[in-house]
């Protein structure tokens, strides 16, 4: 096998706890009695009113305004309420609340697979948009390189790995469809080395489909699932710098949704969520209806084995801390993590001793400690000159900080106060 690649600087190797859930096959979560579907706040985004009856897969909103991709009712039923809800990331959004009623017309219907090769490219684009997967209208054909992100964005999460193990042929079909639309010169698939089962099943599926793509093993390092480190790892920095190399990046969940949208003619109604953490009694990978309350998923995993020290939506590095269990599952949510007290490695905060560990961990080459100090003294211009706006809040700096300084929280606060530009 080739030497596994990785991005050139910074990053961390967090403890690999994907093993908690990676061996557990994806199973369907129970259908919830109600779902909360966020539709955004602008007028024209919500297409239903309280009292309306909706069928499964009916469009109830447009996520980014009238012409953007659709948001669908993930269960059939009656609209009980259209009101403001707090989402898992802490933002507020207008949401449609649907009570379960009636029949599952999309999921229950067995439909013959569509011969996608017979569809034209505009038809493919339209299906992907109308089924709420992605708006590809901005994507130009003839990209230099199509990169598939087969790396989990966060430690602990195994949803993508399970998709590769169980649904490799579907992923490869999705990739073929995307390839037909974008006509890239090259297709590169980045997967962490050591995910042997996933690599094997992908390789078999690619071979069976006679797809010309390079499956590239990558060293397990965080934040390799983020776009820029991934591209640096796969393509090298020199190639990234040259402006001619246009690259398009997609991920596993999108490929699977493209497959479902085009071949099964099914809108985006479900996603796979990893429920894990040492405080969860039975970690699992669940196929969940969008809009399900996160509390339902923890209940389905046997509840908590001990009072969790943190309840997180997303992953342990960038996920947001939940105060309750009410937030709905959205299309971006890849995992729910309940961390035990022993996992979080918490210690008292001390002054910065200038050890420079944050600077060596930063994948962007910033000096997080210095930026933090500048912000503490309200020197916003200085903080920006040091690269504040380039911070992606990946959390590597705060992860290694011996003084346990909340560097990421400081950066976030600083960005919201710093003048634009």
């Amino acid at each position: 096998m080739r030497q596994a690649r990785t991005f050139p600087r910074g990053g961390i190797v967090p403890p690999d706890r994907t093993a908690l859930s990676a061996g557990i096959p994806i199973r369907n979560a129970c259908v919830p009695a109600e779902v909360v579907i966020p539709v955004g706040r602008q007028p024209g985004q919500c297409l239903v009113r309280p009292g309306d009856t909706v069928s499964e897969g009916m469009a109830v909103g447009r996520a980014g305004g009238p012409d953007s991709i659709s948001v669908h009712a993930s269960i059939p039923g009656r609209v009980r309420e259209v009101g403001e809800r707090i989402l898992a990331d802490g933002s507020r959004s207008l949401a449609v609340v649907i009570d379960l009623q009636g029949e599952f017309t999309v999921s229950a219907r067995a439909r013959p697979p569509v011969e996608w090769e017979t569809l034209s490219v505009p038809e493919l684009r339209e299906r992907i948009r109308e089924h709420g997967v992605a708006d590809l209208s901005a994507a130009q054909a003839g990209a230099g390189c199509l990169v598939v992100n087969g790396v989990e964005r966060e430690p602990y999460i195994s949803a993508g790995q399970r998709l590769m193990i169980e649904h490799a042929p579907e992923l490869i079909t999705g990739l073929q469809i995307l390839r037909r639309i974008l006509e890239p010169a090259e297709v590169v698939f980045g997967v962490e080395e050591g995910r042997c089962e996933a690599l094997e099943s992908l390789g078999r599926a690619a071979e069976a489909a006679a797809l010309d793509c390079r499956i590239e093993p990558l060293q397990p390092r965080y934040p390799q699932g983020a776009e820029r480190p991934l591209l640096e790892a796969l393509l090298g920095r020199s190639r990234l710098r040259s402006k001619t190399a246009g690259t398009a990046v997609t991920d596993l969940a999108s490929l699977y949704s493209i497959y479902e949208a085009v071949v099964l003619d099914k809108p985006l109604l479900e996603r796979i969520v990893t429920v894990t953490g040492l405080a969860v009694r039975r970690p699992a990978n669940l196929k969940v209806r969008l809009g399900t309350r996160v509390g339902n998923l923890f209940e389905e995993c046997g509840g908590f084995s001990e009072p969790p020290a943190r309840l997180l939506a997303g992953g342990p590095m960038m996920g947001s801390c939940q105060s309750g269990l009410e937030a709905p599952v959205t299309r971006e949510l890849e995992g729910l993590v309940a961390l035990s007290r022993s996992e979080i490695g918490r210690a008292a905060e001390t002054p910065c001793i200038g050890c420079g560990r944050c600077a060596s961990a930063c994948p962007w080459g910033l000096m997080p400690g210095e930026i933090y100090k500048a912000l503490e003294h309200r020197l916003f211009a200085e903080a920006e000159a040091a690269g504040l706006t380039e911070c992606t809040e990946c959390g590597c700096c705060a992860y290694v900080c011996p003084a346990r300084i909340p560097l990421v929280a400081g950066m976030r606060q600083g960005k919201s106060r710093a003048p634009e530009g």
């Binding site: 105060s323 002054p351 420079g356 600077a359 290694v400 011996p402 976030r412």
Partner: protein, 360 residues
Amino acid sequence: MGYGPGSALRPFPAPHLHEGPTTAGMMFSVVLCLLPAGIWGVLLFGQRALHVLLVSVGASLLTELAVSGLFLRRFTLADGSALLTGLLLGYSLPPAVPLFIPAAASFFAIAVIKQSFGGLGRNWLNPALGARVFVMFSWTGPMTRWQAPLAAADVLSGATPLGLAKEALSHPVPGLRGPIELLLAGLRPSGLRAGPLSDLLQRLGRLAPAGYGQMALGNVAGCIGEGSALLLALGSIYLFVKKIIAWEIPAAYLGSFGLLAWAFGGLPFGAGLFRGDAAFHLLAGGLALGALYMAADPVTSPLKRPGRLIFGLGCGALTFLLRTWGSQPEGVALAVVLMNMFVPLLNRIGGRPISREAEQ
């Protein structure tokens, strides 16, 4: 987000995982790695050395407790930094020094050098080194009165290897080609006092050429903890592996110093270029303690690799200059203190964000 007052979970900022040592963990690791050299020093120099160490550590802890407790209303002993400062300071004092000197030095290190600038992480000067320089110039007499190790020959008492070398240069000895010969004159086996310790030292000393072996073991006159370069180096291996001290500074320091001592160290003895005794200079005096434990202090050294390398080079060059042509035999403390001043400047070198590099 809706965090009610009764909510069990509060909004903690991401990331929610942490790894690696804490500040206190780093400090206590350094203390542990220093301990063997200190215990060895007490064995070599006797009870008196233990008293000096206890006073310097005790005074350092008391001052920290008093100053940060009174003025900042914070309990900061648990971070381990005061303990480390006290220990390093004790190590860099001669064993026969009057006990008020470690007490005064510790007070100066903690109250003046560290706390007056805002406490841990804010001082621009290494507290232990700064305090050593302070007492050196305030009480030069007691600070340069040396005691030979218990097991060493009487001939040696009263002079460190570096002191011998300096003395020889001001009163030239005919036929002398290098500093190690001066030391060898006092290290004849017959000159060692009998006892289990000297037996052990003799046996260990045979592993290396005479003179160098004794210097690596610290069986020469010197400060309490700086003698045994071997034990200090062994302790630092753990710190390098755990990345608690950055390798760049000790490497650049010892490397540049060794190179200079080899290239130009022979000149004062009339031996010509590239005839210097680098091994003698690397093993002598406080170099091991200074380079491995004091220059690499994260608070008072640069943050990024290019700055750290230049910092180490500067320390090495200054130490060599001060030792060879300075008025004192030893130059480590002053060299590091001088380079501490350049840290803010050195922090401007290197380390552009990636995106700016791409613009070049």
